[in-house]
């Protein structure tokens, strides 16, 4: 058992060492705000070579170039919008992990809301149907129920 734990810990440790390797660039920033902006941009931008990784995660050469470009743009005083515009002008909106609402992606954003509306409508229809069916209990069943209630009341009086 101890042996198993040791192997797992070792495997995890080597994995984290790999991720340190991937971020082996040491950029220095004049203010902590700039560094934070840099880090959050790295998480929001997609590496185009390895599409399921952010720029922060990727070790591809293009990702290194783009990290350097973002670093240069931050240090020369560009704001986040200018950096995003620079990159989307060249690589398209695909580079953004969290694209803003626009005409192209509007269906994707609005479809869930539409689905909820349809769901609410269907459920309310079903609920109304339920109410209506409650109103039409056959007379014979109603009589049986009344008789049973009456019978039970008499029994309870006798006790």
């Amino acid at each position: 058992m101890m042996e198993m734990i040791r192997i797992v810990v070792l495997a995890l440790a080597s994995l984290s060492a790999l991720s340190i390797l991937a971020s082996d660039y040491s950029y220095t920033f004049t203010t902590p705000q700039r560094e934070m902006r840099y880090q959050s941009l790295m998480e929001e931008l997609r590496c185009l070579v390895c599409q399921n990784q952010s720029l922060a995660d990727s070790n591809a050469e293009l990702a290194q170039d783009l990290r350097k470009k973002v670093y240069d743009m931050i240090t020369t005083g560009n704001d986040d919008d200018q950096i995003m515009d620079f990159l989307t002008d060249r690589y398209g909106k695909f580079i953004l992990y969290d694209p803003k609402l626009n005409y192209e992606n509007a269906p994707l954003w609005l479809l869930p809301i539409l689905m909820i509306c349809i769901g609410v409508y269907v459920i309310s229809r079903l609920a109304k149907q339920g109410e209506r069916s409650e109103a039409v209990i056959p007379q014979s069943a109603q009589d049986d129920a009344d008789a049973l209630v009456k019978h039970l009341e008499e029994r309870s009086k006798q006790l």
Partner: protein
């Protein structure tokens, strides 16, 4: 309201069709925002004459292909013989952009495999590559005489791409 099984089945078929279409598309192909836009400005030296600087306006004025390649790129070797053949036909000007490469390696590569390029520009630090949105070499751009980007192909060229996507633009009157 009676249950209508037709509606869920219709939605199901619609979704299957939608996902089916999605499967046939290549997720690695990213639409270029550069199509219909002017070619970015640049100043690069020539591979064969490093002391000569070439700018955008030196190149434009006729239809041309910009082929982004590197000697370290395996797929570039794959498409190269097609480009050599195309150059022999002298239909269109072909300009090479040697992307993030060592010039000595690039020169040797062209000597071995043939040099189809009217001129080859050296993009050593990948700056023009970034302005062109290059994310995987080889990439080929079709530029019109005014310097507008008409078409972009990512990956090795094929005869089909050359015939159907690159050369059709150069003979629009037919």
């Amino acid at each position: 309201m009676k249950a209508q099984p037709i509606i869920p089945i219709a939605i199901f078929i619609l979704l299957v069709a939608l996902f089916g279409i999605g499967l046939t598309k290549d997720p690695r192909l990213i639409p270029s925002p550069l199509i219909g836009k002017p070619l970015p400005e640049f100043e690069l030296s020539l591979l064969h004459h490093p002391e000569d600087i070439v700018e955008k306006h030196d190149l434009i004025g006729e239809y041309m292909l910009l082929n982004v390649w590197a000697s370290w790129c395996v797929a570039c070797a794959e498409e190269h013989s097609l480009i050599v053949d195309l150059a022999k036909q002298k239909i269109i000007k072909i300009v090479g952009i040697n992307y993030k490469d060592k010039s000595a390696d690039a020169l040797r590569w062209l000597e071995e495999k043939g040099d189809p390029y009217d001129s080859t520009l050296v993009d050593f630090d990948g700056e023009l590559g970034m302005d062109l949105g290059v994310y995987g070499v080889p990439e080929t751009f079709l530029i019109d005489p005014k310097g507008q980007v008409l078409y972009k192909h990512v990956g090795p060229l094929t005869l089909e791409v050359i015939e159907n996507n690159l050369l059709t633009f150069t003979r629009p009157e037919q």
